[in-house]
Amino acid sequence: MVLCFIAFFVFAVMSIFSAKYRPLAKEGFRCVFRTLMMKPCDTGLDERIKADVVSAVLKYSPPLAKVINGHFAALSWLFVIITLASFAYTAVGVYNFYVYGNCDGPQAIGACILNDITGDYGRFSEPTDLIPPTALDGMAAGNASANVTIIEFGCFTCPYTKKAESTMKTLLQRYNGTIYYVFKPFPLPNHPYSQDAARAVLCAYRQNKSWELQDEIFRQQQVCSEEGALALKPLAQNAGLDMAAFNRCFDNNETGAELERYVQEGRDAHIYATPTFFINGKPLVGPKPIEEFEKAIAEAGG
């Protein structure tokens, strides 16, 4: 009878597309309803499913069919639990996608998938399609004449960009003077206030305090995503910025054109997720383990 829960769901979905499944969906519903009312299922749907499954398996493996036949109720429960768990997992994924722009949530290793900007959906496994940018303008750190250049496209309200920040800081310390790091803001439209955060950090960069502000923003990323400018200004103050200059820059959208240029670079590079790194042109998508960066740096001659 427990199998009717799954049958109802499956047949209900299938009956949207084909009328022949509607009687089965009705049977499933009746069975579910009766089960919830603590009455035995009287449709026989579960018995027919059992007969179908066991008969099909019997053709190929009588011993397996015997196991299924003998433990069908227990297997049904297991199947239902697995199915419900997968539904729950899917629901969490959908929630994460809605809130964080990815299915795995803020703590997962991954990247914030894009995107309305480039339209390059679903190419997560094909970073070879990425085109390295040629311009080195952006928020830079390290030795401009170093052999190895790391360009990052990131979004300040993306949890994965936040995750990668500590890796970048470590690399800048570890490869002191031998790498050149350029951050190009690439605010994702599906992250609230990502544009504001990017403009704010560009304003801070003018005061040579971009790291300080982005540290603050990453620390309060959730609040920034919820409140935008209301949160960004106190954070700018915490970061020790000249607030008069910052307010002028931010309120007058002085960095808007600059930001649009970086976004266009991202479009041209076919960025589909943040953070995306180019290490001497070789792309890496997502906050990869530091070892991968080190390997890429070594390959680049660093």
Binding site: G44, E47, R48, K50, A51, D52, V54, S55, A56, L58, P62, P63, A65, K66, N69, G70
Partner: protein
């Protein structure tokens, strides 16, 4: 029996089907289907009422059918009342008899619900005293048990001329004699018996015989109650209405004085013609041949069931046994029937509308029933056995 299968369109359309559920309802040959259809294509009118040509023709054909069907069971047409099925006939007898002088009705635990329920209802209303005779461990009901229960208080004895649970053909003729010796009437549930063996209403000295068309190759929705002519006059009709009266005038009813007083409303003329065609079909084969064929099939069925160590309900003796067996393997009967169905074998599972009978046999969760008829072959029974052997691996 060679070539019979060609007459059955359903078998032609489903050549892989092994239909072993004839005790529930039989398949229909083209001759029966054509006869039933002929009413709609060639007659289409009311019988016994309309005086136009089609009406007269309908009356003529249905009365010919009455003669034909009555002859098939060795009875007179004047004692044959059309019913929807066996159940309706049994209800007509149960509710139509007068129990004021003798209140006792005797039947057995091996009967179909169609027998038991109408009389249990009368018992619950206090109109009769009902005695239900038990059975032996193999489901047979001995003459001794009947004789012990039937006495001078007994108005009616009801039993079958073939059970739908064990395939035992019963001892209806013997029971009829015991009943008559005590002055009681005998009513036979002929649902299985008429379909699977020669029935002679007069020779066997039955008082009432009820049977259905659909179990004997005929259409659904048509059956008959056969009665001794003089007993019909003692029977109160179950229903009244159009066609049952000569006149209704001055507030008084003047009922018909023949069997049509039981046939209220327009009848199932197509079904009547189909049932007559079924009788013709079976007569053409010969009921002796039908019985012999079923005996062969029955023995094959038993052999296959024994080969898988099935629990078989009913007498072990093949004599007096039709090609019908109820059985169980380990596991639920319904599951087994469903899995046989997936292998193209149609059988029945459950209590077969005879729960007291199956419980008396120890099949408290029901059983699986395989039942054959004229169109089945030994090859099909072998396929059934093969499927059972495969399914036995599940237990």
């Amino acid at each position: 029996m060679n070539g019979i299968r060609r007459d059955f369109p359903l078998l032609g359309a489903n050549p892989q089907l092994v239909y072993l559920d004839s005790a529930c309802t039989s398949l229909k040959p083209a001759q029966v289907i054509d006869a039933e259809t002929s009413y709609y294509t060639q007659l289409g009118a009311c019988g016994g009422r309309s005086s136009h040509a089609l009406g007269r023709k309908t009356t003529e054909k249905t009365e010919e059918a009455r003669e034909n069907v009555a002859r098939f069971v060795g009875a007179e047409a004047s004692g044959l009342v059309w019913t929807r099925n066996t159940t309706e006939g049994l209800n007509m007898v149960a509710s139509g008899l007068d129990y004021s002088k003798r209140r006792k009705v005797v039947t057995s635990v091996m009967e179909h619900h169609a027998v038991l329920l109408p009389f249990m209802k009368l018992r619950d209303r206090g109109q009769i005293r009902l005695e239900i005779v038990g059975c032996e461990s193999d489901g047979t009901v001995s003459a001794g048990r009947w004789a012990q229960a039937i006495d001078r208080e007994t108005a009616l004895v009801v039993t079958n001329s073939g059970t739908n649970t064990t395939g035992w053909k019963g001892n209806a003729r013997e029971v009829a004699k015991i009943a008559h010796d005590s002055g009681a009437l005998i009513c036979i549930d002929g649902a299985q018996g008429v379909a699977h063996g020669r029935t002679d209403f007069r020779r066997d000295d039955f008082d009432f015989l009820c049977f259905s068309g659909h179990k004997m190759l005929g259409p659904t929705g048509i059956g008959a109650l056969v009665s001794k002519r003089q007993l019909l006059d003692r029977l109160e009709p179950l229903m009244s209405g159009g066609g049952t009266v000569k006149a209704v005038s001055g507030g008084k009813i003047d009922p018909m004085n023949d069997q049509t007083r039981f046939e209220a409303g327009v009848q199932h003329y197509g079904g009547i013609l189909g049932l007559a065609a079924a009788c013709d079909y079976l007569k053409k084969i010969g009921m002796e041949k039908v019985e012999a064929h079923e005996k062969t099939l029955g023995m094959a069925l038993r052999r296959e069931l024994e080969a898988v160590d099935a629990v078989i309900y009913g007498p072990a003796d093949a004599a007096g046994h039709s090609a019908l067996y109820s059985f169980n393997l380990k596991g639920k009967p319904h599951d087994l029937a469903l899995m046989l169905d997936r292998q193209g074998i149609a059988v029945r599972s459950g209590f077969f509308c005879a729960q007291p009978a199956l419980e008396a046999l120890g099949a408290n969760d029901g059983a699986v029933r395989a039942s054959c008829y004229v169109y089945n072959t030994v090859d099909e029974v072998n396929k059934f056995g093969e499927a059972l052997r495969k399914l036995r691996q599940l237990y």
